[in-house]
């Protein structure tokens, strides 16, 4: 019996895949009804399902599939044309089949629903409808039918004249008979005898010789049969299905191998034996390649999600009376399986939203001078170790005023907050929980559980969401997500003698207070410690106190503060020591420890010991940094940011030559690095270094700004590098010294411009040049900003 179950399971898996393909095929076919090959493939899929479920005795499913097959065979033979009504009916058929398959999966039989309305509709559509279409149909009919039968499908003419109500009955009764006469064991054995062959050929081979009295319907499988089996053997030769559990296990094993390799390499350092050295070197290389290979097995293309969208968009557009085209780019972009699963629902939601709210009705579009057909453009690409997904529509866009009014009405923001908000901030209000601008709640969207859930889900996997919109032009949603959840960069800190990992995504900056600062820097507000970080109070949380592992300690000379972002709040985590950043492999904690909100998981460090991964949000919640009133915080923070933007800016001060001072906006600085001069390589005439798996071009500011105040000629080692990220590309600015981070109002005192500076200002009583990053980069590399412009879709 279990063998039969396995066969059924295989049938289910295969059928689900086929149905997904059907969705796509039908939507394509609707646009291009003459595509016979696709029609034939749709026909074969339904036929296979029908055949197999007949074999398993799922009579209801078989009945539904059978009517669909009849319609499809007429379409394939060119007796009828595929019009929207028929497409809808066929899609409904796909849904019904899917529903029944789900039923089979959970209960083992195909349910009690007989889908009579659907069968009726399909049967009705079998009749040539109106005169117009019928004429058209018969017009193309003869030639097409000829073309069809000339393809060598000789038995077809026998099939087509048969009328559906007649053709419907015999197989059903036959099935019942065959089911009762033959014990299920034989069925299972029969199926197992040829498992790789498509189920339909098994069907046509087994029942037919026994029930020889079956008329033409029984013969139907034959024409499609041989072709189909050829197709699937080629597929099964190049790919195999593997249980995900097995892949996970392989991944764990490779992780172990990496650790063992590391230990051997450590041991190798003390050895002199040449053979041993070269062998361990080879082991090293093979392990690395193996690790990469296994990681790749878990990667899946974005297409796995996206391929479902054309169908969703089509149905939705039809429902809303809109015309929508969907274009995709970067379907082959690969992501870890777990991430693909995590973003599936949020993406679907966004796409539905775009069709329902974004794109206008055809009439409206015409009055606005746009094509009647709206366009939804999906784009995915890898960038800087992350995957970017953009979903843009050329619809109505988001009107900031409407958002504002809605937010006011719902009491999400106050009147004066609203007055001070920029358009951009307004648009971001749609991410607040309980926000919806849909005038009327449809069954598609508008229930106010939408964008905030999208945002939370994306952020849960370490991603970010950004939205840009222009009224009447369209909206673009940009999502950035990590490539894999399994391996993440993390900062390793110590507390109470133990190491902990903090995911890099939450990390903003590190502050180290020494000596006098350490004693005076931290102030108390009624027992709550705070630190003044560039003029703003940063609440402090002591990690050892949160972990209840506080040890009595004397006055500290050094205080390390890790500035973290939790939700929309910043706070400083005081730790004992800061070690380094490392790529860590995330492992889940056992169920016993899931209840502790402070830990997100665990990882194994290079020395083989376990370290816990801190859950930044959990710590913030436990310490009370993030409270329930999170919406308020968000808007306040936005206010704050705006205020700051108006008056002051954070600047990174750098020293060049003997006494020249330069400043760049901190916002464009990604990281500060010290890079040993020995690591600098050359590509073309450009100095570069390998940095986080990419090639980072270096730009020496002394070269760029002229030799003003040349030092003593010798370049410092290590190089002080300011990594600038602009428009998704990075460049390293080489300076002589990093001085400080200050807040200053950027009002130019002197605009004696050199190409790469915006002007000068006085900071800390000293004249400082403000570096114009964009023109500096352009001087360094004229092609820097010449990036391919994201494909526009109109």
């Amino acid at each position: 019996m279990t063998e039969l179950e396995t066969v059924i399971k295989e049938f289910l898996v295969e059928s689900y895949e086929n149905l997904d393909q059907l969705d796509q095929d039908l939507v394509v076919l609707e646009k291009n009804p003459e595509n016979r090959e696709r029609l034939a493939s749709v026909f074969r899929t339904i036929h296979t399902i029908k055949g197999t479920c007949g074999f398993f005795g799922f009579s209801r499913l078989e009945k539904v599939a059978h009517v669909g097959e009849n319609l499809l065979s007429k379409l394939r033979d060119g007796e009828m044309r595929l019009d929207p009504e028929r497409t809808t009916a066929l899609l409904a058929l796909v849904d019904a089949v899917r529903e029944m398959l789900a039923q089979i999966e959970s209960t083992g039989h195909d349910g009690d629903k007989d889908h009579a309305p659907l069968i009726e509709m399909l049967t009705r559509l079998l009749q040539p409808k109106s005169e117009a279409t019928a004429d058209q149909g018969t017009g193309t009919d003869s030639t097409a039918a000829n073309a069809g039968s000339q393809k060598g499908e000789v038995t077809e003419p026998v099939v087509t004249p048969e009328q559906p109500p007649v053709g419907e009955k015999p197989p059903r009764t036959r099935r019942r008979r065959s089911k009762t006469t033959r014990p299920s064991e034989t069925q299972a054995v029969a199926a197992l005898d040829n498992p790789p062959a498509p189920p339909e050929s098994a069907h046509s081979a087994t029942p037919e010789p026994q029930d020889s009295g079956i008329p033409a319907t029984g013969k139907k499988p034959d024409p499609a049969g041989p072709e189909d089996s050829r197709l699937s053997t080629t597929v099964s030769e190049s790919t195999i299905r593997v249980d995900v559990g097995l892949l996970d296990k392989l991944m764990t094993l490779v992780g172990e191998l990496v650790l063992a390799r590391n230990q051997i390499l450590q041991f190798t350092a003390t050895q002199k034996d040449a053979t041993f050295l070269s062998t361990s070197q080879r082991l090293n290389l093979i392990t690395t390649e193996l690790q990469e290979g296994v990681m790749k097995t878990r990667m899946q293309p974005m297409g796995n999600i996206w391929d479902k969208f054309p169908r969703i968009v089509r149905d939705l557009a039809l429902q809303c009376g809109k015309q929508v085209r969907i274009d995709m780019e970067g379907k082959e972009t690969e992501l870890d399986k777990t991430i693909i699963e995590a973003i599936k629902d949020p993406l679907t939601h966004v796409v539905r939203n775009a069709v329902d709210h974004g794109i206008e009705a055809p009439e409206v579009r015409k009055t606005r001078g746009k094509a009647a057909e709206g366009c939804l453009f999906l784009r995915a690409f890898h960038e800087g170790g992350q995957v970017n997904i953009e979903i843009s529509d050329d619809g109505a866009g988001i009107a900031p005023d409407r958002i504002k009014a809605k937010a006011l009405e719902r009491g999400l923001i106050s009147r004066e907050q609203a007055a001070r908000m920029s358009d951009r901030e307004c648009i971001h209000l749609i991410f607040l929980p309980g926000f919806s601008t849909a005038e009327k709640v449809s069954n598609i969207s508008g229930r106010g559980v939408g964008m905030d859930v999208v945002k939370t889900n994306i952020e849960r996997i370490g991603g970010t969401v950004d939205i840009q919109s222009e009224p009447r032009k369209g909206t673009t949603l940009k999502i950035k997500i990590p490539l894999t959840l399994a391996i993440i960069p993390a900062l390793i800190v110590t507390s109470g003698g133990d190491r902990y990992a903090i995911p890099q995504v939450s990390l903003l900056e590190l502050v180290r207070l020494e000596g006098e600062q350490a004693r005076k820097g931290i102030e108390m507000i009624h027992g709550a410690p705070v630190y003044r970080l560039r003029g703003h109070l940063l609440p402090l949380v002591h990690l050892d106190r949160e972990l209840r592992s506080e040890r009595p300690r004397s006055e500290q000379d050094v205080i390390n503060i890790v500035v973290l972002q939790a939700d929309d709040r910043q706070f400083g985590l005081v730790v004992e020591g800061i070690n380094d950043t490392e790529e860590i492999v995330v492992k889940p904690l056992g169920t016993h420890l899931k209840g502790i909100p402070l830990f997100a998981g665990a990882t194994i460090m290079g020395d083989g010991r376990v370290a816990l991964i801190l859950d930044v949000l959990g710590i913030a919640q436990q310490a009370g940094v993030v409270s329930e009133v999170r919406d308020r915080n968000l808007t306040e923070l936005a206010m704050h940011a705006e205020e700051r933007r108006d008056s002051k800016q954070s600047l990174l001060l750098m020293g060049l030559g003997k006494d020249r001072r330069l400043a760049v906006p901190l916002a464009s600085v990604a990281r500060l690095e010290e890079i040993p001069a020995a690591l600098v390589e050359r590509a073309d005439s450009q100095e570069v270094v390998q940095y986080r798996g990419e090639i980072l071009p270096l730009l020496r500011l002394t070269d760029l700004l002229g030799g003003s105040g040349s030092f003593d000629g010798s370049a410092p080692d290590p190089l002080q590098v300011v990594v600038i990220a602009e428009q998704g590309r990075s460049v390293g600015l080489v300076v002589d010294r990093i001085l400080d981070i200050v807040e200053a109002s950027v009002t130019m005192k002197d605009t004696m411009r050199c190409a790469a500076t915006q002007g000068s200002l006085v900071i800390q009583h000293k004249v400082t040049d403000l570096l114009d990053i964009r023109s500096a980069l352009r001087v360094a590399d004229p092609s820097f900003f010449e990036q391919p412009v994201p494909g526009s879709c109109a």
């Binding site: 992780g255 172990e256 133990d498 056992g590 169920t591 016993h592 420890l593 502790i596 830990f599």
Partner: protein, 144 residues
């Protein structure tokens, strides 16, 4: 027909315990552990078992048998549970013994407290009693 079962045995604070052999994945000597702050004292830490992170339960704490002498390092009995492998920290490992089903007796009514939940009963061996530890109940503990 007498049925017999095989037990992997160990000592905790002088008491003689056993778990069924087929529930035991392996027995390993003391491993360095990473403390889990905030968790219950029963959870002594996390060990790296060939790349897999395994929670270690201190049976002395679980059975409320007091602290293990500082100089005595516990052994790990790694058992299979519904939630994956778990390690039980014990004082000392005994032999694998074969016991007859008939020698089993349920714990007396006088046994109470935590021991009553964790000890399914005793096998009357020659000279001593083998206490049958209920693994699933033993690892049902977590946050304080």
């Amino acid at each position: 027909m007498t049925t017999s079962r095989q037990f992997c045995t160990f000592y905790v604070n002088g008491l003689f315990f056993g778990v069924e052999v087929n529930q035991v994945q392996e027995v390993i000597r003391y491993q360095e552990m990473t403390r889990v702050p905030i968790a219950s004292p029963v959870i002594r830490g996390l060990i790296n078992l060939r790349g897999q992170i395994v929670t270690a339960f201190d049976l002395r704490q679980r059975l409320e048998l007091g602290e293990r002498p500082f100089e005595q390092l516990p052994m790990n009995v790694v058992v299979r549970t519904a939630d994956g492998p778990m390690s039980l920290l014990v004082d000392e490992i005994g032999d694998v013994v074969e016991v007859a089903e008939e020698s089993f007796e349920r714990p007396p009514e006088t046994l109470d407290g935590v021991a009553r939940e964790l000890i399914r009963g005793a096998y009357k061996l020659e000279g001593q009693l083998l206490l049958h530890l209920d693994i699933e109940t033993t690892v049902q503990t977590g946050v304080n």
